[in-house]
Every structure is written in C-alpha cells, then in structure tokens.
Amino acid sequence: MGHDTSYTDQEFKVVGTRVNRPDGIDKVTGRARYGADAYAPGQLVGLFLRSPHAHARIKKIDTSRAEKLKGVKAVVTSADLPDLTDGNRGLLDILENCMARDRALYDGHAVAAVAAIDRQTAKRALKLIKVTYQVLPHVTDVDEAMKPDAPIVQEYVATDGLPSNVSQVNQFGHGDVDKGFAEADVIVEKSYKTEQTHQGYIEPHACLASVSPDGSGELWVTTQGHFGFRINCAQLLGMDMAKLKVTASEIGGGFGGKTHVWVEPVALALSRKANRPVKVVMDRDEVFKATGPTCSTSVDIKIGAKKDGTITAASAVLRYQNGAFPAIWGMLGAMTSFACYDLKNVKSVGYDVLCNRPKVAAYRAPSAPMAAFGVESTMDLVAEKIGMNPVDFRIKNAAKEGTLASYGPTYGPIGIGPTLEAVKNHPHMRARLGKNQGRGMACGFWFNFGGQTCTDLNIGLDGSVTLTVGTVDVGGSRASLCLIAAEELGIPYEQVKANVADTASLGHNDMTEGSRGTFSSGMATIFAARDAIEVMRSRAADMWEIPLDDVIWEDGQAKAVGKKHGNLPTLSLKEIAAKSPNTGGPIAGHNEVVADNAGVSFASHICDVEVDPETGATKVIRYTVVQDAGKAIHPDYVEGQFQGGAAQGIGWALNEEYIYGDDGRLQNAGFLDYRIPVCSDLPFIDTKILEIPNPTHPYGVRGVGETSIVPPLAAIGNAVSNAVGVRMDHIPMSPPRILKALEEQNS
C-alpha cells in the first residue's frame, strides 16, 4: 500500500482550529464508561493475594479452605497458569509478573487470586489462603544491586558467566572522549540520583473478563492498547486470538503504565475456572505496589568545554533500576542523554539493573527525564564555570539538521535550535526575580514512534461519516482525527464521528504510546479518506455517465471538469451518499499503514521557583514550555500535552518518590504520602507551540505527547539550585533534601 507520506505544505480549512471534542459531553456528564464501569449478569468480584515480602521463596500455597468457603467460585495460583511460552523468556517474565511462580520478587507481587460472589466473601477467602514463605535477602537500591555480594533477583541473568543483577550494558556515542576531555579548558564531573516515581493515573487498572467453555472470551479493559493486550492474554492462556474479543474502555490516564497486562490474564483465568464473568478493579495501594512505576537511577555525568563554549567531550554512565524483570530502560537513558547536542566526542553507557521492586513500565518518554536531569544540570555547571549564559551555551552546542546524534543516526530538520531561540527571546526570561527565587531552564528530547495502524471510514446514507480507529484515545485524539477526516473530505467537522473499535472489528493497531496516536491514526485517516474520495469520484462519474478522469474532488464535492461537462451541477458528498444504494452500495475507505518517521521532538522549558529557606518548601511561580509539534492539529490538546507533561515533571522534581523501608516494603502506597501536584501547587503553565513540519507526514505532524516530561526535572533543578545557591543532585528535591543541602553548605 504505497502512499506518499511527504509533507505537502497545504493551507488548512479545519485542521488547526479549536473545536469541541466529540466525547466531551459524555465525560462531563458521567456517561462515559471507564474500566470499572462495566457490569455483567452473574459477575464475580476478583481479588488478589499479594506477597508481604520483598523477596521470598514460595514453598507452599494451601487454597483448600478458601475454595470451600461458600460464595467462592474460583481460586487461582500459578498452578492454573501453565507455561505455554515455548521458551520465550520475555513472555514468561510477563506471566510470572502477573502471578508469582516459585518466588515472590517484590512487596505486592501477586501469589494467588479468588473470584467470589461479593467483595466481602472474596476478602474472607484471601484470608483463608495459607502461603508458606521462606524469606530471602532482598535488594532495592540500584547501586547496592550492582555490588558483587548483592542478593540475586533473577537466576537466569548473568554477567561474564556469573549470576548478577546487571541484565544489560549498552554503549552509544562516537569520537574519542579521552582526547576530547584533554582538549577542554573546563571539565565538570558530577553524580546524580533520582528516586522511583509512578505515572499516577487517577484511574486504577480494571477489567471485566468473561470466558466461555468453548474457549472464546471477552475482555472489557482500561488499556493503552487492546490489540496488544489481546495478543498477550491469548498467548498466556492458550486461547486463539480471534476468539478473544477485547474492548477498550475509556481510559483514565496511562502515560505508559497501561501498556502492559497486570491483572488481566489472571482475571481471564478466574473467569475460565468459574465459568462466570469476573470483574477485577485494583485498589490504589495495589496500583503503586504491583503495576509498573518508572526507574530509580544513579548517573555520572562528565562534560568538558573550551572557554569559548564549545563542548569538546561528554560522557555519561547511567544505572537504571528495572524492578524484578529485565528491560532496556538504561539503554534508553544512554540513547537520550546527549541527544540535544552536536558533539564530536561523546560516550554514554547504560546499565539495566534488577532489584526487588515492581516491574518497571514506561512513563512518558521513559528514561529520558532522568538522564536529562544529570546532563542539563551539568550543562549549567559548565556554563557557570566558563562564565557563559546557560541558554547561549546550549544554543552554541545545539544539534541541527545534519548533526550526528549521540545515539547514532544523523538528524533531519529538527527543532532544538528554534526552541532554544524561542526561550532566549521569551518574556519569561526577562521577568524580575524576588528574594529566595531562582530561574532555571533545560531542554529535552524524545523519539516519537509510528507503528501498525488500521482505519476504516464509512459514509452513511445521510452523508455523515463514521471514522473507526484502533488507537485508544488517551487525551482527545478523536477530535484531531475528525478534523483530519473533515479536512480531507472537505466537509464540516461536525459531520464526522470517530469511534475506537474493539479487536473483533478492525485489524491490528499498536498501543497508544510513543506519542503515536494522532500521528499514526491521523496518517491512516488521511489515506482512508482519500480512498473513500476515489470511490465517490467513481460514483459521480457513473451518475453523470462521464469518464472518471473528468471528475475531481474539491471542497467536499465532485466536480465535472472539461468543456464538455461544464454545465453539470456539482454533486456533494451527501448527494452521492444518498444515491449509493444504486451506484454500487456502501461507500467506504480503508487504510492499513505501518506509519514511520514520526519525527524526533525537542522541548525547552523555563521555570521560576521560590524556596522557603526555613522549611525547604519550593513553590513553582512561573513555568513556560516551548516545544516543536510539527503541525498542531488541535492546538488546545497539544497545549494540554505540554502542560500535563510539565506538571508530572514538576511533581517528580519536587515531591514524588517511592519510599522503601529496610524490610524492602513500600511505605507510601497512596496519594496522601505519594504527593502529586495539586491545583494550588501550580501556576498557569504557558505554552508556545513551534511548527517545524515533519517532512515525512502529509500535514507535517510530529508526535507531541511525551517530550514535555523530559526537561522539568533539570529546569527545576537548575531553578532551585539558583534560588538556594547550592547545586541539587538528588530528585525529588523535597523539603528535607533542600534543608539538608543548605545545612551542609553552611557548615
């Protein structure tokens, strides 16, 4: 299906306007249905029993008394989830995370589950399950986990033939950093730590699973990707994928945390065993303990520069804690560390380290914020040492078209320079600062992805258009997709309705992650619409009885061109649709595409803070986001992504962290003590959307959703450091940490 996806630099009629989103009324009236809002006759309540130990061998699980309790319809342990993965270690890791096999690997790891007629019975049943644990030594700190005598988390992970917790080491870069550092006039070398945080979506994971004795099943679930969930659930349970219909509910936030299955395979297993629908809704405590937070990290950064501001060498060693199952987060950190800069000599080494903590999942531009904290803080330190303005220092070294990126490829047209120039000239930079206030800025990078996408566009008899997509709408993308369809067809926005279809109704669609929703489904919508236009041209040609070549599509109408047909009145989409039963039947367009070249995305942020020297409390008093969006299909929702990512970054920088006790248990698994920003913590967040078109999308669209979480840790780190006069190197910069830093400086 070779469509030309090149940027066409066209004038838009509706794309770029701020229309009301189509799902708005449902969401402001409580009618919209999320994961926990589905009910089935005879449904059972599913609850999980979770390990209270950070690391323990499971010697025995006795479920007999629970099974006998009146009202209990099924009890499931790993014995009910045989290994069907055929040697696929990655899939086995997923299964083992959903239900512990021979060992509990973190506080909160699921060891059993029950389905009962009501919540009270299910809770009583959990109490009747007897688990015999042999507690093992645990490790929860990333640096401790790398020591030679650390407890081993996964026995199949080894380094140089010996069991270890380092599952991967990856190196990126080019040139000769030793030579580069030797050429530097000034070198800054510093280490930083960031603590673990959670995506913090307000909606806990929830699903309603229903499996029939014939092996077919239905799953209603809150997810960022129902097609991906279908694949995993079917594989783990030995079901045919086509027999498992997965419907995505509206999603109450995901940010990467809902791209993995957590409770769903077990919910299906319970339903299969009980032969009744089973509803599982996680409580907030479980969400923190047993889903996928992001990594805690420990990084060493070294940057050398000449007095004129040219960076001669940059290196990073990054250690990322993956939780109990190996993944590539350290690798991503190493790839993104220096991506904003044009460097002759650069080297990043990323370690992926296992700990007895929950399995890490992506959190909005995963791994990039932590690396950026280290790099952008060090950039400020270098700028200070050579007496250069921090923005000018970055502009001097910014990557541009043709730069060899530190992670390998060569850049096309990119936005880092323009975002930095916009920051330099922004009124925010000239605002006066008061007592105890400081200003910081930082820049950030993220990849953006495309992926498998499938879209249908159907034109009803009355000319109204149904757009059927498979990418879950996390933040308002249905509005953007309707704008795109309306633009292509030449009809009003209100004439298009977008639906997110279930897995039975459409071909595979990848998850909504990697900032791909609007980019990928948007591209597929463009081509599905053009497909439908071809059909309508052909119908018009038939209705007029003229050659197809003499029919064009313009402004929502078929027009006959050429001297012979000059007098033919135009045919609108509505008129063609109304006649469709007699001209060949339903009019539809379809597109499958593996969208690629979503473009890389850069952002620069400015932040002003005020720090109370007595309490160490920090208030953000002004915040500005500048980011390149390629083309903002719906500016309100692009701004929303900028503001949301910034707010998450602010929480991460100032307050959010997982606090583990010496016993390896999570101490703050709730919103009271895991403190995310509230309305009174934040000012209005100013946004500036730059539009440097992506040359490989017809409208120039780049992914936008993730990059805005990358700069805040460092922007705030730089602002706080400037406000208190001490360099902060440990995230979050909570009041106790700031007070400690002030104390240490004064002593």
């Binding site: 390998g408 490829p409 998850m511 990697g514």
Partner: protein
C-alpha cells in the same frame, strides 16, 4: 554496502563485533543475512528489533529499503509511554 552498527547484547550474539558490513536492499534481507551469519541473533529478532536508517527509526516495517551507503543501527525495539 550498508554499515550495520550493533549495540549491547546484539554484539555478544555477533561475536562481539560492533560494526558489520551486510549486503541488503531491505530491512527484511538484512535480518535474513544477519541470522544466516550469526544464528544467535534469532532470539533477539523474536524479542523485537528496531532499525535506524540514516536517522530514522523503523520498528515494524521490514519492507523499508536500505540505501546502498546507509548507516544502519540495530537496537532493541524501543517504545514510549
């Protein structure tokens, strides 16, 4: 001929080489040649590989053509959030 650079555990599967020269016109051909030369790469293919060609990352489309002098990077299939 495309220069193929490998990272991390891919190098271990390719006798510790960090750069390979592989004759291939598409990503699919590249993968086939790679596995022919280094059978251990097969397990990494199953887990997912992303390919960067002259700056652009391709995660799924193996029909993509590789220009003759392209710089190709093989990395594990990365994703966002």
């Amino acid at each position: 001929m495309p220069q193929v650079k490998l990272t991390g555990k891919f190098r271990a599967a390719a006798d510790d080489a960090d750069t390979l020269e592989i004759e291939a016109r598409t990503i699919r051909e590249l993968m086939t040649r790679l596995v022919e030369r280094y059978p251990l790469m097969d397990q990494h293919l199953d887990a997912g590989i992303a390919v960067a060609i002259d700056g652009e990352i391709y995660r799924d489309n193996w029909s993509v053509e590789i220009p003759p002098d392209a710089e190709v990077f093989l990395i594990p299939r990365i994703q966002g959030g």
